[in-house]
């Protein structure tokens, strides 16, 4: 039984991978149109302002360890950090990345270094990617000075957070700077909705790459998510119908 389930899971992954590749290939020269998410439009404007006024961008990646299932949101945050580092490469200062997990901090340093190398800029400062604390609140307490004292004018909080995210959004609010925040954690999503200027709800954090034009594979992955979502809805409806009919 477990092997059949495994095979089904493997089939879904292969199906998604093939569909993603096909869509990326077919749309390699076109610009797909997605529904408007105002948060991403404002993020672009905020990034433009960062470059113009010589301030800094701060990306906080949360506490999602790479050895846990929460790593996906952290990896989405890292992909966004890479793209934002590219977009701000014309600015005076590289972005700062804070995180509450050591492996994530190392990867953020690496991402910033790679972005600096790609844009032919001087190597990024190693303290630009930093670990601010290993427990939820020490992480938030360590990230707040970065928001407050380092001439930051735009903040992106993307990754796995808990309730401590409200302390970060509150610090941003006090500085009257831009914040876009999203998490895969339900509690954090509710807190972000209540306290952040530009909240991302649900799986919108995984759409960031497609909205800031990280490449055709990002756009294709968003379409694959939509196709899979319709398949899940169909499966739920069929399951409900069969249960009502007494077959299941």
């Amino acid at each position: 039984m477990s092997n059949w389930l495994g095979l089904a899971g493997f089939g879904i992954v292969i199906f998604s991978a093939i569909m993603m590749l096909l869509l990326a290939f077919l749309r390699r020269k076109s610009h797909p149109v997605f529904r408007d998410i105002p948060a991403f439009t404002r993020l672009r404007q905020a990034v433009g302002l960062v470059v113009e006024d010589g301030s800094r961008l701060h990306v906080s990646l949360g506490r999602g360890s790479l050895t846990t299932p929460q790593s996906a949101s952290a990896l989405a945050g890292l992909a966004l950090l890479r793209r934002l580092a590219d977009l701000t490469s014309a600015g005076d200062q590289p972005p700062i990345a804070t995180s509450g997990d050591a492996t994530l901090a190392i990867l953020s340093q690496d991402t910033l270094q790679a972005a600096a190398k790609f844009s032919d800029r001087a190597a990024s400062d190693l303290v630009a990617g930093r670990l601010t604390g290993l427990t939820p609140f020490s992480y938030a307490a360590g990230a707040i000075p970065a928001i407050r004292d380092e001439k930051v004018s735009a903040n992106v909080l993307m990754g796995n957070f808990g309730v401590e995210v409200a302390l970060l959004t509150d610090a941003v609010e006090r500085e009257n700077t831009f914040v876009l925040a999203g998490s895969d954690n339900l509690t954090a999503q509710a807190l972000i909705y209540a306290s952040a200027q530009e909240p991302l709800v649900g799986e919108e954090i995984f759409a960031a790459g497609a909205y800031i034009e990280s490449g055709p594979l990002h756009s294709a992955s968003l379409t694959v998510q939509d196709v899979l979502r319709w398949l899940v809805i169909a499966a739920i409806l069929v399951g409900a119908g069969l249960t009502l009919a007494g077959i299941l």
Partner: protein
């Protein structure tokens, strides 16, 4: 050599290793048992790779702590704002480290008398922060969803916390609260979690394709 056109050998090797490791771990999850009923080769490889990852994550904590020290040393060196707190952090770190070496059995004492009360006080600040954020929500985003969010939050508060002299409110505590929490919120949460799961799947595939490379590769 322009890195835009020629990825370094280091980047190629790290990408190949990361993709291969990802594929092995994925296969290990899907093909758990061999034909003879025992753990498959993929499962053994997956567990070995995960063990290695956990060991590396342990070492990463050391590097992370050094990074933390580096950040705060630099702050003190440049006499930046808040450098006194940086000094306090470094001293606390050193004292805790020495305490851990001298009295390893009493390390719990540090956590229960210092770390725990500090984190509890931050939690208390959070309650005030959230109340203030809720009040500002309507000023920031005046729309139907914000109104529903706030009304639901207030209703749940009244239904959960017993009121002085009144206790639990009939109808609200025993009917409305379970309906909101177990039907409406649970349905919404499942929808969001399904979306997050699909997003996780596509993010994983992008990394397996090498489209997102958070590991030593320039793109």
């Amino acid at each position: 050599m322009n890195p835009r056109r020629f990825p370094s050998l280091n980047a190629v090797i790290s990408t190949a290793i990361a993709i291969a490791s990802g594929l092995i771990v994925l296969a290990g999850y899907f093909f758990v048992q061999a034909a003879n009923g025992q753990a498959s080769l993929w499962t053994d490889l997956r567990l070995t790779l995960l063990d290695w990852a956990i060991i590396l994550a342990g070492f990463a904590i050391f590097i992370g702590v050094f990074n933390l020290l580096q950040v705060h040393f630099k702050k003190i060196q440049n006499k930046q704002k808040g450098s006194f707190y940086s000094l306090l952090l470094i001293l606390s770190l050193l004292v805790t480290f020495v305490f851990g070496l001298v009295r390893p059995a009493q390390m719990g004492f540090v956590f229960t008398t210092v770390q725990l009360p500090v984190e509890a006080s931050l939690m208390a600040i959070l309650a005030v922060t959230l109340t203030y954020a809720s009040i500002r929500l309507l000023r920031r985003r005046l729309n139907l969803l914000s109104v529903i969010f706030l009304v639901t939050a207030v209703l749940m508060l009244f239904a959960t916390a017993p009121l002085p002299f009144l206790g639990l409110i009939p109808g609200l505590s025993d009917v409305l609260r379970p309906f909101i929490a177990q039907v409406m919120a649970a349905a919404g949460a499942r929808g969001i979690l399904l979306g997050v799961a699909l997003g996780t799947l596509t993010t994983g595939i992008r990394i397996l394709f090498g489209a997102d490379r958070p590991y030593g590769g320039n793109k």
